[in-house]
Symmetry: C2
Subunit: 639 residues, 2 copies
Amino acid sequence: MLIEDRLKELRDKINERVPSGIRVTEVEFEGPELVIYTDDPKRFADEADLIRVLARDLRKRIVVRPTILEDPEKAANEIRAVVPDSSGITDIFFDADTGEVLIEAEKPGVVIGKNGITLREITKHIGWTPKVVRTPPIESSTVKQVRQYLRSVNEERKTFLRTIGRRIHRDIPGRDETNKDAPRKDQWVRVTTLGCCREVGRAAFLLTTPDSRVLIDCGEKPDNAGGTPYLYVPEIHPLAQLDAVVLTHAHLDHCALIPLLYKYGYEGPVYSTPPTRDLSAMLQLDYLDVINKEDRKIPYSSNEVKTYIRHSITLNYGSVTDIAPDIKLTFHNAGHILGSAIAHFHIGDGLYNIAFTGDFNYSKSRLFNPAINQFPRLEALFMESTYGGSNDFQPARSDAELKLYETINKVLSRGGKVIIPAFAVGRSQEVMLALEEGMRLGKIPHVKIYLDGMIREATAIHTTYPEYLNNDLRNLIFREGMNPFLAECFQQVDSSELREKVINGDPCVIISTSGMLNGGPVMEYLLNLAEDEKNALVFVGYQADGTQGRRIQKGWREVPLGRKGTITINLEIDTIDGFSGHSDRRQLMNYIGQIQPRPEKIFCIHGDENNTIDLASSIYKRYHIQTHSPMNLETYRMV
Amino acid sequence: MLIEDRLKELRDKINERVPSGIRVTEVEFEGPELVIYTDDPKRFADEADLIRVLARDLRKRIVVRPTILEDPEKAANEIRAVVPDSSGITDIFFDADTGEVLIEAEKPGVVIGKNGITLREITKHIGWTPKVVRTPPIESSTVKQVRQYLRSVNEERKTFLRTIGRRIHRDIPGRDETNKDAPRKDQWVRVTTLGCCREVGRAAFLLTTPDSRVLIDCGEKPDNAGGTPYLYVPEIHPLAQLDAVVLTHAHLDHCALIPLLYKYGYEGPVYSTPPTRDLSAMLQLDYLDVINKEDRKIPYSSNEVKTYIRHSITLNYGSVTDIAPDIKLTFHNAGHILGSAIAHFHIGDGLYNIAFTGDFNYSKSRLFNPAINQFPRLEALFMESTYGGSNDFQPARSDAELKLYETINKVLSRGGKVIIPAFAVGRSQEVMLALEEGMRLGKIPHVKIYLDGMIREATAIHTTYPEYLNNDLRNLIFREGMNPFLAECFQQVDSSELREKVINGDPCVIISTSGMLNGGPVMEYLLNLAEDEKNALVFVGYQADGTQGRRIQKGWREVPLGRKGTITINLEIDTIDGFSGHSDRRQLMNYIGQIQPRPEKIFCIHGDENNTIDLASSIYKRYHIQTHSPMNLETYRMV
């Protein structure tokens, strides 16, 4: 069926269900949503159940937009009249192309009202579709820039969303177009491993059916060698024919090379949660900056990061979304970092279900709830195996925090400084929360905790998306008004002068990127502080093979830094396990033990060779599930 | 290094080794060969060891051609003067583009002379490079047409060979061209299964390295549904970037769709043995004819068969040949049908060795020697599993022949006719030889044996390439002058009148194609003879799932034939095992037991699902070799 005919059919069905008098002027696919344009959004909004019923019957995500929009200034006044002052509205933006008004408020719940009543009231009065976002307690320049940029490319984005919408809802031909005599094409589901197998880094998996092609993640290998996924193999080309890129979370080993896809000809959407979009843009720009400073050749420019943002489509946890004619995507909390998701794909009409965990944590952390392991259906699971080895047990977080306090007390008391390399996103915030509490409860002395790199900005993004934090932390911040990230012990280092001061100053704690010592400001601290044995370098995160972090952890005492010379390591080296955002061996095994439903096949990826093989074989032995430890560049047939 | 520089380097090396006075005018890659043009081919030919030494030192296949060629008429006279009359020269063709003269003789050995002395003598006298081929005892119109066609496109073919030659000898970049900062590209070897896994038919395997891509076979599925390999998946595209297609043997389930590749944009060579080239062209044209007669849509036209022939490059068993910058191909006897080969690939500089058996027979047959299973090196083997099931034991050939004689005696004595459906190539000739001997030795009565379909033509091709038959048969034909294929009991059916006569005539034996009753003249016989229970249908070959042959074998008594109506089966149905060109279960297991060296990995393909799984698991249990029974559309990493 032609897409126009399909839209006509949908419009007819909608008109059947819409009470007489409400005129539907246009029906259009925009991205994964079906947008209904009407002269009468007020009455549409009045029919509380109408949109829900349409969504259920048409099996589409429905958005209603007014055909004619009210004057923005007048509309803004009406919004302020309807919404209680207690909402703390900080800004109102009108987006003429989507007919949306973005209301930024300190208390979005008040703008929305109970069961959305205030929001519907707004819609009734102004025509514009209100979207409510929280005013970040710490202003994030990234979030601000992303939102401003998206507004500035409104026109282009609308065209893009319509193109994608029509592509998602295209007809699947019932037969092989290359051979019209052939019977209906075989159905199949395949996964091609383009990276991240028997290694940590350069995550990239290609999920294909006869009709669709989806890339999951596109990261770099954190070994300073510029290792990229196997993007040159024909399986993934032409990139313009990919239906979707799905990003599980914002760490660089999963997201760094997504902008490169646009340089190589990709034109489609990148699906992620909203925090993942913002965090990944921030980290990609920082990544370019780090590479540039090291005189390495940058793989793409900030223009491609913009292109990525322009093509991003965000989905919240639990929202079942068509991303290709035969594939529905749902994100579930992965507990690893802010916005991290397990990507669940429902393929065909009940044909197959496959999930990619991305990185996940199956225990509750200071920031997040444990990863989800209940799915409506699941036949195959690609799971990370970072700590999949039979001895990879991590201590409890409380023990880890105790050990961190002890180490800090010891180093500070001898007049030393503590350097904690950490990913800007995830580990840094966990350690900040532990240190803030330790200081508040008197377990460690009151010293400055310097944050260098993107840590503060990352923290700002965390407070922009409180719904992605766990209940305890959310309550602490928003109910009890106690935001530990704003504690005065923290100080951002944002100039080389201040960095020099810190280096030459009093005993302190320095949390700095990169987390595996492959570049970033932490190298500056190391260069200046490593020779003094009073100081300490404390690893709180996983150090991948090939990184300087792993080398120092293994005992190297001379670390070559290229033209910057060589660092002589005299300072104390500590590794404090237990802060990881990854599940340890026990949790990985428990995750599978408790997963519902139990999949038929499990692929252990994202781990050193020994760990993936060990985990695969242990799961098979314990649970009698077919397991694999794939190599890169293989293709597995699921069905 | 640029190809011009490489050729210059080779020319310098050649000049160093060539005695002073011999002038080398040009050095050029033509297909897999390095061609040395010289003013003085006579002196080159005098230096008996020179070409051998050059080939060894340069690790290239060397051909020497004269820069200036003698007048063809004069040269022909000189050839006749040098070659003894006993050679029985039947024709001499001059090919100005390659500088070759094709001498067709009844006794090619006499033209060549002991250790090639006569041939060198010819070269000395005429400049032209002599190539000697045997005058077929039965003239094959296919062979004649192929040779004439190739001569007619000389010019184009020379350009093609030079293009391919330069492509084969191109530089392998030491790094990923998409990322010049990256370290030397990983080395890997992969195989993608595009068909023929857990099924019989549509053989197609893609062998890839970072630098090269080779397709092995491209056949149809013999189930009348037009099943093709998965040629639409991106792995194989663009087809123009394939380095080579390698054809193991001429059966349609391996070769039928090779011409289609040219329709889809392939421009490279197809490597096969010389008989495989001729047999496959014959069978492809017949295939188009059969499809056309059945009013099905033909997938390509005879033009594409010509294109295939124009792009074919033939190699004899044992000839180690560069087919890509990092891949050398060697064909070895597979014992299955005329020219059938096991394709052995040596990849990289000792990196990996992998062989594809194609179809093979590990016992000596009336026609062929047993398949080779000794290789210089071998890490992985893709082996056929047609009779791989644990109960797939075939009787000895002598028992099978005895049973065939019994059946024929029984049917003839009750006044019936015996229909033997058989592949034109392979089974037909085996059965012909058995029947001729049976008749000669008085084991069956002297009746006519009618050959319908391409059988006689296929037989003619067999006698064109006696070096591909086993010693016994070759001696019988060429030393003892007794050609059983010429026995007077055989009569070709070449008109519908004669076919009608046969149907209405005396008791007889009819050998006719197709071998699995999926079309061809055998259907005409069945349509007219199936209702009479005096007659018999005798299966001597494998019947694949989905074919009419398999249905009748399983006991169907009503066979729908589309618009031709329905055949009611009353005639006797017999299956005589033991004529198969395939190894049975015992031979498959023995093949692996005796293979040298023992591979690390074995992939069981080309068999029903149960058979491939059973064989894979049995080989693993018996020999502790890692085995797989792949599915279609998977990619396995070898290294």
